[in-house]
């Protein structure tokens, strides 16, 4: 287990260093990156099998006791989400290799190593059982995302980068204040110990800490009213980068909330969180309706969908938490695929703007299919994964009698479908518009891009096919989260 966890965290780093060392040699560079990302992804899959079979594993880094050192905890929750995330990054990197030599590509010398660093940060964030290490992991993810976002240095990227960087810097600052609050009240930053001690705090302090970390994690997760950075920044990055961001970054925030707020017993915040969830869902999708660029539409949908996960979390029931976890598993690949398809649209149409494209379904039926499946899934149309996830969230809410949030969720679902229809009608149907088109990717690159996207689409279909198993696992993970004693016992045997 130690090996698996170490591989997931450190292998991408070694790959990044190697890739930087041979950065003027493209094949070596790509092989190093793919090897690092691939081995991490593989390790995470083995980890899932192991954890599902044997239960939670912990690794005391450096052999120190949890009171002193850092503990890495591979519980079922982490083991469920990590493979999804790491596989997405791997597939996106494959796509990126196909996208080379087009004007939409990221700089391969940088994007590979940076994706590796990001991967490492994601693994660390999912596996850590330490609040401060979580901060470091966040910073690792963020700093690599800052650089990935701005490394081409054009004007829109620098502008968007500033919004993104500065807002997240403030969030990180708030995180540190939060650590100070927690540390002064409990004398530790170990999550298991916190799960013991925070519920003992007096109500005001406990809720204050909970609410404060809602703001901290909520900014990363882009919930209402802290989402403004997202739609401004995501669309400006190269497609592959956006795919990773959209698939992963906000989810790390949701993940942290699901872990933190469940373990620390923040049920009292539930009602207000449900309100925030409803607003996030509806405002996100309304924002998407107003946009006229595929990548911007999809960016707003990230927010809207975050609302569903937040809704599941806010219910603070096993069913709700399980639904949120299942939604995470469904959403990450679906969103990444949609952005990859956005990249394909750019490649075929010369732009991701709705006004400048049309009739793609006739010319590239495969792209149309690869868009339709995740788009329908996003809108919650059966039999795709989004339906199961949405049904899980909504039925958990119905059990709790949350009428307002259910109505909001259904409304958001309908409007999501409307905005997907908008993309479909204007990009895939309709007449072809003329205009200057940049040179598309060469044939081989196109084949790689299509294969990577198709693989990812197949992945989303697998999520749907095995939704039953995944929901069972999610429920098991949610039971552990809702019963912190098991987590504590795993960390301090």
């Amino acid at each position: 287990m130690t090996v698996l966890i170490s591989v997931a965290i450190v292998a991408p780093l070694l790959a990044a260093a190697c890739s930087l060392a041979v950065r003027s040699h493209p094949p070596g560079r790509d092989i190093a990156v793919l090897a690092g990302l691939g081995s991490a992804a593989l390790a995470s899959h083995i980890m899932l099998v192991t954890v599902a079979r044997d239960g939670t594993h912990t690794v005391a880094v450096g052999g120190w006791a949890p009171e002193l050192g850092i503990v890495l905890v591979a519980d079922l929750f982490a083991a469920l989400i990590l493979p999804v995330a790491l596989t997405i990054i791997f597939v996106v990197e494959v796509f990126a290799i196909g996208q080379r030599r087009t004007v939409w590509a990221a700089n391969p010398q940088l994007s590979g190593p940076l994706l590796c660093v990001l991967t490492s940060g994601v693994s660390l964030a999912f596996l850590t059982g330490d609040l401060f290490t979580l901060f470091v992991a966040f910073e690792l993810i963020l700093v690599s995302s800052y650089v990935l976002l701005t490394h081409q240095g054009n004007r829109s990227q620098v502008r968007a980068g500033m919004t993104y960087v500065v807002m997240n810097l403030l969030a990180s600052t708030l995180f540190l204040f939060g650590v100070a609050f927690v540390y002064t009240a409990t004398g530790t930053v170990n999550m298991a110990l916190l799960a013991e001690r925070i519920p003992q705090l007096e109500t005001g302090v406990r809720l204050g800490i909970g609410a404060w970390f809602l703001v901290v994690f909520g900014t990363k997760a882009a919930i209402f009213p802290l989402f403004s950075w997202l739609p401004d920044s995501y669309p400006t990055a190269p497609t592959t980068i956006t795919a990773v961001f959209a698939g992963l970054l906000t989810k790390v925030g949701i993940y942290s909330m699901i872990r933190f707020h469940n373990l620390m017993g923040m049920e009292d915040l539930g009602p207000i969180m449900l309100l925030v969830a409803a607003l996030t869902m509806v405002l996100g999708v309304l924002g998407a309706l107003a946009q006229s660029d595929v990548k911007r539409i999809l960016s707003f949908h990230v927010i809207s969908q975050i609302g569903y996960m937040f809704m599941g979390l806010s219910l603070f029931t096993v069913a709700g938490t399980a639904a949120a976890i299942l939604f995470l598993i469904h959403h990450m690949p679906v969103k990444a695929v949609l952005f990859l398809v956005g990249g394909l649209i750019e490649n075929h149409e010369g732009s991701s703007s709705l006004d400048r494209s049309g009739g793609l379904a006739g010319r590239e039926p495969l792209v149309a299919v690869m868009f339709a499946i995740p788009a329908l899934s996003l809108a919650g149309i059966p039999p795709f994964s989004g339906f199961v996830a949405k049904l899980a969230v909504i039925s958990a809410a119905v059990d709790q009698g949350g009428t307002v949030v259910v109505v909001a969720a259904l409304l958001a679902g309908g409007l999501t479908l409307l905005s997907m229809t908008k993309i479909w009608n204007e990009v895939f149907w309709g007449g072809r518009t003329d205009g200057p088109r940049p040179r598309p990717a060469p044939r081989r690159g196109r084949r790689i891009m299509h294969t990577a996207t198709a693989l990812a689409v197949a992945g989303t279909l697998m999520v749907s096919l095995f939704a039953g198993t995944l929901l069972d696992l999610s429920t098991e993970a949610a039971e552990d989260l809702r019963r912190p004693a098991s987590y504590i016992a795993a960390v301090r045997p």
Binding site: F132, F135, V136, E139, V143, Y146, V147, T150, G153, N154, R155, S156, V158, R159, A160, G161, M162, T163, V165, V166, L169, L170, S172, T173, L176, F177, V179, A180, F181, Y183, T184, V189, P231, D232, P235, A290, Q291, S292, D293, R296, D355, K422, N425, E426, G430
Partner: protein, 128 residues
């Protein structure tokens, strides 16, 4: 808890926030630095009272200042140092592109807001 240090934390945070919400990137960086100071002071304040430097052998453990927040803040300082460097580079890039260091509004957001506020004719049924 130490009122003097609390004052420093509060003051640094307030001034930092004020500077951070400015429109000039140089002030944003100043604000971020101050906020960084504030977090560091907050963390060591959270760690307990002042004491001797935590070097084993030079002072008894009970007389030492709490080393853990110091280690945490060292990590935090280094991170914020790195991020400040990055912000500086971003600012320099912005200067190259636009000639000053002002943060610009998002153009697409502005365009949509403007389209909303401007009186528009009947909508094209297909475009919407």
């Amino acid at each position: 808890m130490n009122a003097a240090l609390l004052l420093a934390v509060g003051g640094l945070t307030a001034v930092g926030l004020y500077l951070l919400t400015g429109r000039s990137l140089s002030r944003i960086i100043l604000g971020y630095s101050l906020l960084g100071h504030a977090t560091v002071v907050a963390l060591i304040t959270a760690g307990g009272p002042a004491g001797w430097p935590p070097i084993a052998g030079q002072a008894a453990p009970e007389d030492m200042s709490n080393p853990l927040p110091q280690a945490l803040t060292l990590t935090a300082i280094v991170i914020s140092f790195g991020l400040t460097l990055f912000l500086l580079a971003l600012a320099r890039r912005q200067r190259t592109l636009s000639g000053d260091d002002l943060v610009e509004d998002d153009l697409e957001d502005r365009r949509i807001a403007a389209a909303e506020n401007a009186p528009t004719g009947p909508e094209d049924p297909v475009a919407t």
